[in-house]
């Protein structure tokens, strides 16, 4: 059984006929070769697969691609400027050493963008609370939290 998909991914229309079981993360990684979105678990608890669907953070591993048919999806590959200039949130992660192995990072950055959209002035406690859906095993979170605060401040300018 297959479904006909038509979504906008990082500003470009993506159309395909896929198996109905195709998760959004599989569609992105396999069909569209956007491998920046990662799979870290099978119980939708690590958040490494987080992308934005119509501007809202969603775990791409826990959503059928068919559920977001017609939506606008943004992945980590879609947030830097066309000339390669990093998005302020990406830049903040680099300056603050908010990543080590990099595997949780795309999901963490996308989650942070949703966080900042809803809570532009989040303090440290709020940031920590709002990032609870994203696991990191390397950084101990401290520099990630600093990066999100710095990224938020830069985005507010």
């Amino acid at each position: 059984m297959s479904v006909q998909l038509s979504l906008t991914v990082n500003g470009t229309t993506a159309k395909a006929d896929v198996d109905e079981r195709t998760l959004l993360v599989d569609f992105l990684r396999t069909q569209l070769a956007l491998t920046g979105t990662h799979v870290g678990c099978d119980t939708a608890q690590c958040g490494a697969c987080t992308v934005l669907v119509d501007g809202r953070a969603v775990k791409a591993c826990n959503v059928l691609a068919a559920q977001v048919n017609g939506a606008k999806v943004t992945t980590i590959e879609g947030i830097a400027a066309a000339d390669g200039t990093l998005h302020p949130m990406q830049a903040a992660f680099k300056e603050c050493h908010g990543l080590q192995c990099g595997f949780c990072t795309p999901g963490m950055v996308m989650s942070a963008l949703d966080l900042v959209a809803r809570h532009p002035n989040a303090d440290e406690a709020k940031i920590r609370e709002e990032l609870e859906g994203n696991l990191c095993r390397c950084t101990g979170y401290q520099n990630i939290v600093r990066a999100v605060a710095q990224g938020a401040a830069a985005m507010a300018k």
Partner: protein, 263 residues
Amino acid sequence: MYSFELKKADSVASAAALLAQTNGKALAGGQSLVAAMKLRLAQPGTLVDLSGIRELSGIRRDGDSIVIGAMTRHAEVAASKDVQAAIPSLASLAEGIGDRQVRNMGTIGGSIANNDPASDYPAAVVALNATVNTSKRKIAADDFFKGLYETALAEDEIITSVSFPLAKKSAYVKFPQPASRFALVGVFVAQTSSGVRVAVTGAGPSVFRAKAMEDALAKSFTADAAKAVRIDAAGLNNDIHGSAAYRAHLVPVLASRAVTAAG
């Protein structure tokens, strides 16, 4: 996961008809269902996608009630000015469900239809004496949750909305299971128009009203009164995260904190 047929419904009536015809499962936010299907723990032959049914979304104030459409996402309930003004405890409960990604997809209808023993909404529905509106009827809170993952819904019945009467005072306090962060025990305390109601989730196979707690708080709506109540551990959940005795102990602790938070 196993193969299935995906049908997108455009109205409540067609969704109910599809469920009846195919013996399928309704797909709301998918946060529980898709997860179960990925692990091959659920294998519905047909999924009926409800996300296109407009009449199922929206939050409105209706006299002394807040009516929340079944497909309303947790994040919307949390952010709703109407809910925050009328029943702030409900907005704050929604804000604490899962994590931000889950809240952007998960729905109130999906959550209460699933009736996970550790989920938050059932405690709100029962404590606030809400009414579950379906494609067939209206079901009172006390009649809706039947047991472990079991509700009063028929196979082809769809929740359309939940009506929450405003309460004089209410609050929800959850003690999370350290791994899943579902409620190890969650207690919702409400002073409703029909008296004090206390609903407990996470502690038993399904949400239940703590009658002894309700009686004590009806006499004296204070944190100390709540703390003095002894809950029987018999029948409560027992697992590696907490014994039945621990859960029984937490109920009055959380109830007293809820009373304080209720103001």
